[in-house]
Structures are given as C-alpha cells and as structure tokens.
C-alpha cells in the first residue's frame, strides 16, 4: 500500500468574491482506501471536490495537492482527469446534442490515451457497464444526461467511474436524490468498480450509503476543514446524534485558536 494522494494544508478562496472557502484541509489517501467526508449542508464539501479537480471558480492561496508525490496544482482540469482523478457530480450537466455513448467513448479515449482497444470493444464495455448499473441501453443513445431522471444521472456518473477506472474517485453526494433501490444499485456498483489500486473519496451528508460502501476512514468536515477523523463508528455517532457533534468540535477548535 503506497501513498496515492495527499492534500496538504489546502486553503482556497472563491474567485468571484474573494471569500475563503477552504481553511487548511489535510488528507492522505493510500491505494485501496475509502474515505468518507461528512458534514452538514453548506460546509463546503463539494468545494473541496471541485478544488481538487481544478475548477476555475476557486483559487488556491496556500498548500498543495499531490498525486503520487507530485503537485497537480499547475495542471488544468482535463490534465488532472487524464492523470486518473475522477469526480462524479452532484448535479451532472446535461449536454444536449452530444450522444451519451459517443461521449463515453471519447472520455475513455481521453483518459486512456495509450489503450488501443477498438471502438467496438469500448462500446461493448460501455453496454456491459450500463447493465451493471441497471441503466437501460436506450439511455446510451440519448444526449448526455438530457431527459434523465435524478437517479439515472447518478447511475450514469457511476457508469463513468467504472468505465474510466480512475486512480482517485471523488463521489460528490452520489447518494442524494436516490430512492432505496437506486441507492442499493449505485452502492453495489461502487463496490464492484473500486479496485485495490483506487482511492475513493465519498462526500456525503448521510450515513445510509456508508452502510453499503463501508469506509476505512470517516472525516468530519466543517467550515472548510476536516475537524475530526475516525472510523466507521464516527459515521454511526453522527447518524445517532446529528451534526451537533460538529458544533461541539468546531467550538473546541475555536477555543484552541
């Protein structure tokens, strides 16, 4: 097991208004580990995901993000994706006019530039991944996420995780808006698609998905920082006691400063 991904004292602000949004995040991920990041709504969990991907809406003011020991801060979003960093979106974009299957094929070619698989083989893989996530084949002939229900969009994101087979998978609230059946399918697919080489960051508000995809570490996130790290039991505590635990911890750090 080796260090795959490190976030070191990461601080960032929103470009538009200059507001600080990450206040010193530290996180180390080894191959094969699943890390859950939990926090109340509005705590900036999604921002962390987007800063990792290099969204132009945020500017890093301090700290670093290392992939296999090398900083990725100088890389554009597409270059980060090509390194094998993948993010599933909480609200995936609809791109009318781009066919889903073609989009998936091109994404695969982008990320796996040295793979000389035939188009037919990739296309078959796509079909098979669609089956795994219980997505009707008909959706592959539609335009990207266009006319998809919330659940179908999430399945489409997980399909992409499976197809692109990244080293770092960031799942941003993959469980939001899913009914019980869809949640089970999505969770089972995540378990199937994650590999011993892959590190997973699961950003979530609720414990329910963690019952299905068990995390190695649970981090409590608040006010742009990880304020507590524990194991699965921490998620259970939060489920029982709510995020009041966060308030207590936030209070502690405030006192400590």
């Amino acid at each position: 097991m080796s260090v795959l991904f490190e976030i070191k004292n990461l601080k960032a602000k929103i470009v538009e208004d200059g507001r600080m949004i990450l206040n010193g995040v530290n996180l180390t991920i080894n191959e094969g580990e699943v890390h859950a990041i939990m926090g109340p709504n509005g705590s900036g969990k999604s921002t962390l995901a987007n800063v990792i991907m290099g969204s132009s809406k945020y500017e890093i003011t301090e700290g670093d993000i290392l992939f296999r020991g090398e900083s990725i801060l100088g890389l554009s979003t597409d270059k980060r994706a090509k390194l094998g960093i993948f993010m599933s979106f909480q609200a995936p974009e609809e791109i009318n006019g781009v066919k889903m299957r073609q989009f998936l094929m091109n994404s695969y070619r982008n990320i796996h530039e040295n793979d000389d698989s035939t188009a037919l083989k990739i296309s078959r893989n796509i079909t098979s991944f669609a089956e795994t996530v219980s997505m009707d084949n008909e959706f592959l002939d539609r335009y990207v996420n266009t006319g998809f229900s919330g659940g179908e969009k999430k399945k489409s994101e997980i399909l992409q995780m499976g197809l692109l087979n990244p080293y770092i998978t960031i799942l941003d609230e993959i469980d939001s808006g899913l009914d019980v059946d869809a949640l089970r399918i999505v969770a089972e697919s995540i378990n199937k698609f994650k590999t011993a080489q892959m590190g997973v960051i699961m950003i979530t508000h609720y414990q329910r998905i963690l019952n299905l995809v068990e995390p190695d570490f649970v981090h409590v996130y608040s006010n742009g920082q990880i304020i507590k790290t524990g194991d699965f039991q921490l998620a259970k505590d939060i489920e029982e006691n709510g995020y009041s635990i966060v308030k207590e911890l936030a209070g502690l750090t405030a006192d400590g400063e």
Binding site: M53, S55, S56, S76, T77, D78, A81, K82, F86, M87, F89, P92, E93, I95, N96, G97, V98, K99, F103, N106, S107, N110, I111, Y143, Q160, L164
Partner: protein, 402 residues
C-alpha cells in the same frame, strides 16, 4: 386571375400605419440589359415565358442593386451571362420548357424577396431552374447539386397537386473565389400535399448566395424546410410561407455556422390567413471569428386565422468576442383567437458544461468544439433519418469548420 404579393412589412395593421424603409440603390454598369433579354427570347420557344421575362425586365431595369448595411453589400456587378446546367439525380423539366401550369404560378405569385431587384433578376434572367410537379415524382426524392463555380441565376417552380408527397434536397457547393447564386423558388402546395426541402448551403468565404423562396399552403398541406447555411460572404435566405387555407402546417429549421468574416442574413416570414394553421420557425447557429448573423423571423397572423398556432425561437452561440449576432423576431397579430410565442437569445459557452467535459479529459478547445457541434447534432440527426448521405456531408463539413 388574382395575383398574390407578399412582403415582410405590410404598412397597415389595424389602426397602425408603418413607415417603410426605402432601400438605397446603386446602378451597375455591368447590369443585364435589354440586349441580353432580347437574345434570351430570340432563342426561346416558350412565348408565354418570354412575355413574363419581358414584363419582369420592365421593372428590373428601373432598379439599381441594393445597399445592405447589415450584410455589407454595396450594390452589385453581375457576372457575364450564360446558360448553365445543374446536376440532378432524376431528370427534371427545365423552367425554360415548362408549360401553362408553371406559367400560372409564375404569373400569380410574387414577392419582394431579400431584395426586389434579385427576385426580378431571377424572374427575367434565369439561366437555370426547374419545374417540378409533385405528381411526376410522388413519394420520391430529388437531389439537386449546385456548383457555385457557375454563375447561377435560378428560377424554380414547384407544384404539389392534391395528396402528393415529395422531398427535395438542394446542395449548394461554394467556391474559393467569388461565386454567386441568386434564386427564386415558388411552391404551391394543394390540399393534403406534403413537401420537405433540405437546403444545404456550404459556401466559400467570398461567395454570395441569395435564396428567395415563396410557398403558398392550401388546406391541410404540410411543408418542412431544413435550411442550413455555412459561411458565405453573404448568405441570405428569404423564405415566405403563406398559410392561405385551414389546417396548413409548416416548420422551418434554419441552422447556420459563420466564421471568418462571413455574414448570414436571414429572413423567415410566416403569414397566417387560414384557420387552425400551424407554423414554427426554430433556428440555431454558431458564430466564430468576426462572423455576423442577422436573424429576422416574422410571424404575421391575419384577421380570420382563428386558432392558428405560431411559434418562433432562435439561439445563437457566439464563440468569439468579435462575432456579432442580431436577432429580430417580430410578432404581428390581427386576430385575437391565436396562440403565438417567440423567443430569441444569444449565448456564450456555458462554463459549467465546459468544466464537466474537462473533468472527463476534454481540453478546453475540444470541449468548446463538442458543445458547438452539439448545436447542430439534433438537426443532423433529423436529416439522417431523411437522407443519410446528406447528413454525413453536413457533419463532416461542420466538424472541419467549427
């Protein structure tokens, strides 16, 4: 025989009186003259047509060529006049040899077009064009290939008798020089007939293409026009649809791609007279570089067009700060019991979509190209259902130019 004349601006609407714009004109020393028309008539066996040519010429000779500020046309010098041949997949009757039915349509239907001078040019001096009768080609597909290396002055007449159905694909291939095509097309759709026209204008950056089309729709007839304009120093479609009887339907889908210094100057006019008629204009386009587009969509619902539905939308994606998109939608309603809506907007690349694609490994440029191409895909998909070869041509051209 009553004549029908349509122009975009009708001066009186209820109590409202409009002031008409007077086009500035410049006479050309190279303009086609009496000698040319006399020579055409001398070699023609169609006396009815010769009378029409002469009649149109009497108006033509009084007009100079227009000055179009938006499209940067500053008068015009016609090229040397000669007769030409145009390639078609099926044998067609030339307008020059057309009989009385065609002459009636020529005599009855007239319009202002992109400019009156250009309509008259094609009426008096056409050197090509066809008379297409739907009953001779029922349920068939006509493909016409135009090559702008020829100086094309076209006059085409389409008659769709009752219960006929026809599809016409007009492919215009531009030049690297200064090609010119001017067209007048008149179509009459009788009861229950159906006509689909796919106009594929793939121009060079110095070509001028003026396409004047006028359709009269009788009871329960149906017209579909796909109108694609790629590039062109000036590409100027002027399409008029007259819903003269009840239940007539028409859809126009204008799509355009401008790049370099090209100008796409479009006018689509739907005028509703009949009850329960339905017309829609749904346009989309992409502009790059310093290209310019002008989109005029007129929906004009006349008194008596009860329960007519008129709908118009237009969206232009602008990829460069120097590109200019103008949309001028207008809705004129003289009848109370109608459903009418219009919308036009101009946008740039959506940053969130761009970012989403980049997280899937597309570079900024690739993602922009994909989003731009996506504008055309639904249009190409539709054409694919009708004529796969044409869809392939369009897709390849757009991919190479976008």
């Amino acid at each position: 025989m009553n004549t029908v004349y349509e122009k975009p601006t009708v001066n009186v609407h209820g109590d409202l009186l409009m002031v008409e714009h007077i086009t500035e004109r410049i006479n050309s020393e190279k303009d086609y003259n009496k000698d040319i028309i006399d020579n055409i008539i001398k070699n023609s066996e169609n006396s009815d047509l010769s009378k029409i040519r002469l009649f149109k010429f009497s108006e033509y000779e009084k007009l100079g060529f227009p000055v179009w500020k938006r499209a940067k046309l500053n008068g015009f010098d016609p090229k040397n006049y000669k007769k030409i041949n145009i390639k078609t997949n099926l044998p067609l009757i030339n307008t020059e040899s057309a009989g009385i039915e065609a002459m009636e349509i020529l005599g009855v239907y007239d319009f202002e077009g992109a400019d009156r001078k250009f309509v008259l040019m094609s009426d008096a001096f056409f050197n090509s064009g066809f008379y297409i009768n739907g009953k001779d080609y029922n349920n068939k597909e006509i493909v016409i290939n135009y090559d702008l290396n020829e100086n094309i002055i076209e006059n085409t007449i389409i008659k769709m008798p009752e219960n006929t159905n026809l599809r016409i694909i007009r492919i215009i291939n531009g030049t690297k020089n200064d090609g010119f095509k001017n067209n007048v097309l008149r179509g009459v759709l009788e009861k229950n007939s159906s006509l689909t026209i796919i106009n594929v204008n793939i121009l060079g950056e110095n070509d001028i293409n003026i396409d004047n089309e006028f359709f009269d729709l009788k009871e329960n007839s149906s017209l579909n026009i796909f109108d694609l304009h790629i590039s062109g120093k000036i590409s100027s479609p002027h399409i008029v649809v007259r819903f003269s009887e009840k239940n007539a339907k028409a859809n126009i889908k204008p799509y355009f791609l401008g790049y370099g210094n090209t100008v796409t100057d479009m006018l689509y006019l739907m005028r509703f007279y009949g009850k329960d008629t339905f017309g829609s204009i749904n346009g989309k386009g992409v502009l790059k570089d310093t290209a310019k587009s002008v989109f005029r969509g007129f929906l004009d619902l006349k008194k008596g067009a009860k329960e007519a539905t008129a709908d118009e939308s237009e969206y232009t994606l602008v990829l460069s700060e120097k590109a200019r998109a103008e949309a001028i939608p207008s809705l004129l309603v003289d009848e109370n019991e109608v459903n009418a809506a219009h919308a036009a907007s101009v946008g740039t690349i959506n940053e969130d979509k761009l970012y989403y694609l980049m997280t899937r490994g597309f570079s900024t440029e690739e993602a922009k190209k994909l989003i731009s191409m996506a504008i055309f895909e639904p249009f190409i998909d539709e054409i694919e259902q009708l004529h796969p070869e044409t869809a392939e041509v369009i897709r390849n051209v757009i991919i190479s130019k976008i």
